[in-house]
């Protein structure tokens, strides 16, 4: 047996080790350093109004913070699901990212508004602090304003049922134990 004939088998072993590693990691998951940390502070205003809106308005109950924009195609993909969640009573705060008030409001008028509060982030400053690098992105916050989870891209049924919903329902309990 000559060594060069063993080469394919050796390459195979390396590849299998690599794939075994790959199976344990989700390539879509970009780790966010903010998980488990308090949500970054911001001072914005409500879309179409001068009412200020800041981090304090997010405290007291678990909720979803959804970065979206009227110019964002993928936001339309997740939109029907957000509407459905809003109907079920899930509180979603929408942050209109790098968008004008007029465009944002017109978009919501046309497609429906799933948001309890709509916040304007015209220059994307809050998005920068929160580490958003493409809309839509959705953050799950517990009652203390801690980021428990970040979802990149449109939310789908599977992500909602497997990850986000369980987090939302356990978030208050965890918050309670932490304060104790």
């Amino acid at each position: 047996m000559r060594l060069r004939f063993l080469l394919p088998a050796a390459v195979l072993v390396v590849l299998i080790v690599l794939f075994a590693f790959g199976l344990q990691h989700d390539p879509r998951e970009v780790p966010s350093p903010l998980i488990g940390k308090p949500a970054p502070d911001f001072a914005l205003r409500v879309v179409g109004e001068d009412t200020p809106f800041s981090r304090d308005d997010l405290l007291g109950r678990p909720l979803l913070v959804n970065f979206w924009a009227s110019w964002c195609l993928a936001c339309r993909v997740e939109h029907p699901l957000l509407m459905e969640l809003a109907r079920q009573g899930v509180e979603i705060v929408g942050i209109d990212y790098k968008d004008t008030d007029a465009d944002g409001l017109r978009w919501l008028e046309r497609h429906g508004n799933p948001y309890r509060h709509i916040v304007a982030d015209e220059r994307g400053s809050a998005g920068l602090d929160w580490g958003v690098y493409g809309v839509p992105e959705t953050f799950v916050l517990d009652a203390n304003g801690t980021i428990v989870h970040k979802h990149i891209g449109p939310i789908d049924e599977q992500a909602w049922r497997r990850t986000i919903q369980p987090l939302l329902t356990t978030a208050p309990a965890r918050a309670a134990t932490e304060t104790r």
């Binding site: 047996m1 394919p8 088998a9 195979l12 794939f19 390539p27």
Partner: protein
């Protein structure tokens, strides 16, 4: 009842697969012809059983049996019948069943068409195929049963992924799978050669038509996939270097190398262990493709619903199958010694070079595809590898291939005379250079050096492909052409197809123009010599979607060219939005219009493209596949069988 019948047929097929694996193998061990013969009947029985299972699943789709979870997840009551039938392979479980149908189909075909093989070789080949069936059936029965019931029964299905509701996608997966799975036959032949320690001209001759058939299906499948992406994704691209596209391209590259090295092994008795390795690799890369698509370890637009259990299973299966194959190779391949000597200026020398370039290209694509995973595994962060890498690496590797192709027919086996070769390629070379310089000027009125180079390579490949028929015609007139073997016709056609493909790729990548515009009804935009006018946008209802459909008129110097109807569709059941681009095409150019987004007061954001010679890219692919059909049906592959039959039937037809 029907879904249970299907499930039962799958279980029965599993039992038969075990028999197909064990009995013929034991037969070759014990030299017991009756045991060896079991392989053929088992292969046919298994095909029949999987066909029953497949029919049962199709029936469940046609009858809208929502109690079957897979049907409910991938169909809808308003889904048209054609798409209900094609929805069978619309997601993971059903596409595995289609995969099995084809695997057993190839097995049955081997059992029928390879009767002329020595008994023990046929038994071993069928046993290997049986072993593969065991693995895939086990995978389906344990992790991906398409017949699983689901209670309570939903009122309606969740509909087929709208991306898959397109005629192109109806046929794309079956063709691709035919190709992937088809390489299992070459793989089985390679394993049989390694076990038996025999690898001669006869072996190469048996393996060639099977390899070519698998390759031609793969070629068609990839071509069609590219055509579909162009029409359906709405941004004018036709190849994205997406991991899953690469997964289909890798076996194609290696399969192409295999076809050529098989020729060397048959005619000259050289490159034997290399050929066997390629046969294993082609199938290994097909398996790898399956793994990448279905495990979700790479980010891709072709996402199947992923499930870690499936990934682990396929990885284990891959490890076992390829581990055994490569171990056998390491143990036995040194026995395959060359029968002749090797000269570089000879057909076998050229084919060796062709193999080197194809395999390096495949390696480059493989590395690019897996690189994000490697970087992540080494803890260096998350990256993605895009078209710039692949284009930069792949194009320089294909240019020498185009040069080599041209030499295929003028350089003979063993050792070619230099002066004779030069005499034959003199005129085509001059023509190619002149034509290559002239083409960009004639077609686009703008000379780019790269375009001229691409044009030269393309013309060179095409002209030289015609060299052999031309020479035969000059020597013997029409008789020279009609008597040309199909194998040579196949080569001519496939090489001509490559030339067309190179021409298309060159022009479409260098001379395409596009524009994003904002148009209201009655407004127009000019691109190249064409005027695109948006006449109106009207609502339109399909069977299971609602759409905004634009009517766009294209004129050139006031002359009407075409009216196009691009659509933006909203599929009701899943609420997903899809772009359906509209294209007007001629061999020289495509005019492509896609609706992007509705804006205010009836205006739309639109994309318009003028893409010269786009069609040639696919026409080239189709010609290559047709060449494959001709080559695989060459009569010398059937000769052995005909001889045998005429010998057994007294007074039968003479071969």
């Amino acid at each position: 009842m029907i879904p249970e019948l299907g499930h039962f047929a799958m279980l029965a097929a599993f039992a038969v697969a075990v028999i197909q694996f064990v009995v013929p193998f034991a037969g070759t061990w014990k030299r017991e012809p009756r045991w060896m013969a079991v392989g053929a009947s088992a292969a046919q029985a298994q095909f029949a059983l999987i066909l029953i299972a497949y029919a049962c699943l199709t029936w469940a789709f046609v009858e809208r049996d929502w109690s079957v979870a897979y049907v409910a997840a991938n169909a809808h009551s308003q889904l048209p019948l054609m798409y209900r039938i094609s929805a069978v392979w619309g997601a993971h479980e059903g596409s595995m069943l289609l995969w099995m149908l084809m695997l057993t189909g190839w097995g049955a075909a081997v059992s029928v068409f390879s009767r002329s093989l020595p008994r023990d070789v046929q038994a071993q080949v069928l046993a290997v195929l049986g072993a593969l069936c065991i693995g895939f059936l086990l995978f389906m029965l344990l992790t991906s049963n398409p017949f699983e019931r689901h209670f309570p029964v939903p009122e309606d299905g969740r509909d087929l992924n709208p991306l898959l509701q397109d005629p192109g996608l109806v046929v794309h997966p079956p063709l691709l799978y035919m190709g992937y799975v088809g390489f299992s036959v070459a793989f089985a032949f390679a394993i049989a050669a390694l076990i038996g320690g025999r690898m001669d001209a006869a072996w190469a001759r048996w393996t060639r038509p099977w390899t070519t058939s698998a390759w031609l299906f793969l070629t068609l499948g990839i071509t069609l996939g590219s055509w579909w992406a162009y029409h359906e994704l709405g941004w004018g691209g036709w190849w994205f270097w997406d991991p899953v596209e690469n997964a289909s391209f890798l076996p194609w590259l290696v399969g192409t190398a295999l076809i050529h090295s098989l020729a060397v092994s048959e005619k000259r008795g050289l490159l034997k262990s290399w050929t066997v390795l390629l046969a294993i690799l082609a199938f290994a890369l097909s398996l790898l493709g399956t793994f990448l698509v279905r495990s979700g370890i790479l980010v891709s637009v072709h996402a199947f619903a992923t499930d870690p259990a499936r990934g682990v299973f396929i990885l284990a299966f891959l490890g076992i199958v390829l581990g055994i194959a490569f171990s056998l190779y390491a143990w036995r391949a040194h026995r395959f010694v060359a029968d002749g000597e090797f000269a570089l200026l000879s057909r076998e020398g050229l084919l060796l070079l062709n193999n080197v370039f194809l395999v390096i290209a495949a390696a480059a694509v493989l590395i690019g595809t897996l690189y994000p995973l490697i970087v992540d595994a080494l803890g260096l962060g998350k990256i993605s590898v895009g078209p710039p890498y692949f284009n930069a690496v792949f194009l320089p590797l294909t240019a020498p291939l185009a040069v080599l192709i041209g030499l295929a027919s003028v350089i003979g086996w063993k050792r070619a005379g230099r002066s004779e070769v030069l005499r034959r390629l003199r005129w085509p070379a001059v023509l190619a250079v002149v034509g290559g310089l002239a083409l960009p000027w004639l077609v686009e009125q703008k000379l780019l050096l790269v375009a001229a180079a691409g044009g030269m390579l393309a013309l060179w490949a095409m002209l030289m492909a015609l060299e052999e028929p031309w020479r035969r015609w000059r020597a013997r007139g029409a008789a020279g052409l009609t008597q040309m073997p199909r194998g040579i016709w196949g080569m001519t056609l496939a090489h001509f197809g490559i030339g067309l493909w190179v021409l298309g790729v060159t022009f479409v990548s260098l001379y395409s123009i596009e524009r994003d515009v904002r148009l209201g009804p009655g407004q127009s935009t000019d691109l190249a010599d064409y005027r695109f006018e948006l006449l109106r946008v009207e609502p339109f209802s399909g069977p299971n979607y609602d759409a905004d459909r634009a009517v766009v008129e294209i004129t050139r110097d006031g002359r009407h060219i075409a009216e196009l109807y691009p659509e933006k569709r909203l599929y009701r059941a899943q609420g997903s939005v899809m772009t359906d681009a509209a294209v007007e095409h001629s061999p020289l150019r495509d005019l492509y219009v896609a609706l992007a987004e509705p804006l205010d007061n009836g205006e739309w954001a639109m994309r318009v493209y003028v893409k010269p010679m786009m069609r040639l890219v696919w026409l080239g692919g189709v010609l290559m596949a047709l060449g494959g059909v001709l080559a695989a049906s060459d009569r010398r592959y059937r000769l052995a069988r005909m001889l045998r039959e005429s010998a057994t039937v007294p007074g039968g037809a003479t071969a």
